[in-house]
């Protein structure tokens, strides 16, 4: 069975990368191929990395409150490059009021503080299977 390929990215100016690194390891331990972009990536850099790596999923770690700027931009760039089949998930501090807005632009996996790693692994497994096997 081919491995699921996941880009873990930290967009924006924030450097608090504990969550991004822990989830990168958890996904790798769950058998996925994980590419961690490192810090301060622009949406353009993240989408370019996803294209180059033929990623099945992109995980964005955002704690700073900049998600309503970053997420729509990432989704737009994916559409521009005809990459809508790439799953996008977000982890971090996302106020309740913003969750429906993110759902609306196509981000279904939003993981708030305290989420078990296994839940994220399961979600990515479930939602990338068709792309990986295509």
């Amino acid at each position: 069975m081919p491995k699921i390929r996941v880009i873990i990215a930290k967009p924006g100016l924030d450097g608090h990368d504990r969550g991004a690194k822990v989830i990168a390891r958890a996904l790798r331990d769950a058998g996925m191929e994980v590419i961690y972009t490192g810090l301060r990536q622009t949406p353009e850099q993240i989408v370019a990395a996803a294209l180059q790596e033929d990623a099945d999923a992109i995980g964005l770690s955002i704690l700073s409150g900049a998600h309503m700027h970053i997420c729509p931009r990432v989704m737009q760039l994916l559409r521009d490059k005809d990459m809508q089949d790439v799953l996008v998930v977000v982890g971090g501090i996302i106020p309740d009021v913003d969750i429906p807005k993110l759902n609306e632009i196509g981000i279904k996996g939003i993981f708030l503080p305290g989420t078990p790693m296994q839940d994220i692994v399961d979600f990515i497994n479930r939602n990338t299977r068709s792309r990986v096997e295509a």
């Binding site: 924006g12 100016l13 924030d14 450097g15 608090h16 990368d17 504990r18 690194k21 822990v22 990168a24 390891r25 958890a26 790798r28 994980v34 961690y36 972009t37 490192g38 810090l39 301060r40 622009t42 700073s64 409150g65 900049a66 998600h67 309503m68 700027h69 970053i70 501090i93 106020p95 309740d96 009021v97 708030l112 503080p113 305290g114 078990p116 790693m117 296994q118």
Partner: protein, 545 residues
């Protein structure tokens, strides 16, 4: 509804212990009982001594908190300088005894609000300060001679400190009357929080320039707050927090001595900043071990002669990472217990987190409750009336010695690598911390470590609490203000000041006077930082997972 998902194993017998093994939150095994045998090798005068005496294990003041309570210093900042100025006045009115500035990410990273990377970040995680005009607003109506201020700023620490000095100048307050702290600790940024701009060596030069400048001109200012807080938040154990923080301290002292400074001229103004996590006794022991280690380092390794150089003074913040988004009122209890540990450990100042900080920056009500928590500890519990009340406890003394031993072993490893800068370049502390963070997360997933409301005692139907929401209006107002500053200032004077800064950075001049002149001309944080970027370049880390 609260459900306890943990059930007793069938057929469990009474003599059996609750768990297979008992460990601290850092994974350190603890015994069932500690006795005099565990502390047999300790010599009271040599290893503990009365509070106020070398090696200060029991505290740096002979009377503990009887002379003066710790400073209740609540970290605050959001949106525009106007909004944050309002919050400061409210905190001071509520009995806060010092200010602590939280800057937003563009300020922390030395970017103006109109830079592309600032998009969506202005005023979000703290207050946005772009030029002297913002700093004047931030402290409007607050007498800088009457308060002490802590500023959490690292890469652009000298720039923001220069702004503070110029605001004082404009208020007519002499620099020798100013008291406060700048965090100014770049090593922990490379290790943990990652808000770095320049490579390590020029970054440390900025810091030692501040040491030298303050020794002459701002003698009561704490020139650095060597921080373990962020190292712990990134996932370090208590021993790693202790070891990496103090080893960072050693690195700064070494660089300053190598730059030709007399150790006793700057060492009394060094201060530290630790986390207070949830494992009660481990934290208390950590603070006690920190004082003992530092006293020996300064006296024996650096041959400091002034006892004030030997004394480790520290600020504490309760552990942000321990706060849960679930059942947020539980955070009040966590914070109170962590604050209690910090006080029993002899902290000089304390920030208590607000109950809503796993969700957002705190509301005014939540911030006030956090301050009240400290006031209750100070005035109702009686623990501030006795210096080091836990001194002599078999367990606390053993744990203090064990943490010291573990920290010293880390010192040896890092010394062998060639010091902390070399260790950072090899990714050593970063890797150690990432490993601890992952192990802890796995322990939580296995429910070896219980977090109430998260992996046990979960409530199915939680009512959300109201939180502070910061919209985009702060960014719009800061952009407008930036444009106004750029059109009303003397741009020739700005250009000349920035050119002089560039020349100074290329040479060996102290950068502080050059930055002060740029600030007086209303140069922005971004302009000053970009000038130095041109000279020193930017640091990029190799990501380690």
């Amino acid at each position: 509804m609260v459900t306890n998902m943990k059930t007793a194993a069938p057929g469990a017998v009474a003599a059996k212990e609750r768990q297979r093994s008992f460990t601290t939150i850092s994974g350190r095994p603890v015994n069932q009982l500690y006795t005099s045998q565990d502390v047999a090798s300790l010599d009271y005068e040599r290893d503990l001594a009365d509070p106020g005496s070398f090696p200060y294990t029991r505290g740096i003041h002979p009377s503990g908190y009887r002379g003066k309570l710790w400073t209740m210093r609540q970290f605050a900042g959001f949106g525009t300088p106007e909004e944050t100025n309002g919050r400061y006045k409210q905190l001071l009115k509520a009995g806060g005894t010092g200010l602590s500035v939280a800057f937003d990410l563009p300020t922390l990273m030395g970017r103006d609000p109109d830079h592309e990377l600032s998009l969506g970040e202005v005023g979000k995680c703290g207050v946005n300060i772009t030029s002297l005009a913002d700093m004047e607003t931030l402290f409007d109506g607050i007498d800088l001679a009457a308060i002490t201020t802590s500023m959490t700023i690292n890469s652009p620490a000298s720039m923001l400190f220069a702004m503070y000095l110029v605001v004082a100048e404009k208020q007519g307050v002499g620099w020798d009357c100013l008291s406060g702290t700048i965090q100014n600790d770049i090593l922990k940024e490379f290790i943990a929080q990652k808000e770095y701009i320049y490579p390590p060596r020029p970054s440390i030069r900025l810091i030692t320039d501040v040491f030298a400048f303050c020794a002459e001109r701002v003698p009561r200012w704490n020139t650095i707050s060597v921080s373990g807080y962020h190292i712990r938040e990134a996932g370090a154990t208590a021993a790693q927090e202790l070891a990496f923080t103090l080893r960072d301290g050693i690195e700064y002292v070494q660089y300053a001595v190598d730059a030709g400074l007399d150790v006793d001229a700057f060492a009394p103004r060094l201060s530290f900043f630790f986390n207070s996590h949830s494992d009660f006794f481990e934290e208390i022991a950590k603070y006690r071990a920190a004082r003992r280690i530092w006293a020996h380092v300064m006296r024996d390794r650096f041959k400091a002669r002034n006892p004030r150089s030997w004394q480790l003074r520290f600020h504490t913040q309760t552990a942000g990472v321990s706060l849960t988004a679930q059942q947020p009122y539980n955070n009040v209890v966590r914070t109170a217990l962590q604050a209690l540990a910090a006080v029993l450990g002899g902290t000089q100042s304390l920030h208590t987190n607000s109950l809503d900080e796993a969700l957002a920056l705190p509301t005014e009500e939540a911030a006030t409750l956090a301050l009240r928590t400290q006031q209750i500890i100070a005035h109702e519990t009686g623990i501030a009336n006795i210096a080091d009340p836990l001194g002599g406890s078999y367990f606390v003394e053993k744990l203090t010695s064990d943490l010291e031993e573990e920290a010293l072993a880390y010192f040896d490893t890092i010394d062998r690598m060639g010091g902390m800068v070399a260790a950072i370049e090899k990714g050593y502390p970063q890797r150690e911390i990432a490993e601890s963070a992952y192990k802890f997360q796995q322990a939580v997933e296995r429910r070896d470590k219980i977090i109430v409301g998260v992996n046990d005692f979960v409530s199915a139907d939680e009512t959300p609490i109201g939180t502070l929401y910061i919209d985009e209006s702060a960014a719009d107002r800061q952009l407008a203000k930036l444009n106004e500053v750029r059109t009303t200032r003397d741009n020739d004077r700005v250009r000349a000041a920035l050119d002089a800064l560039k020349d100074g950075a290329n040479g060996s001049a102290n950068t502080m006077p050059l930055l002060i002149e740029a600030v007086r001309a209303y140069a922005t944080v971004g302009e000053m930082c970009d000038t130095l970027r041109e000279v020193w370049g930017e640091y990029e880390e190799t990501p380690i997972i």
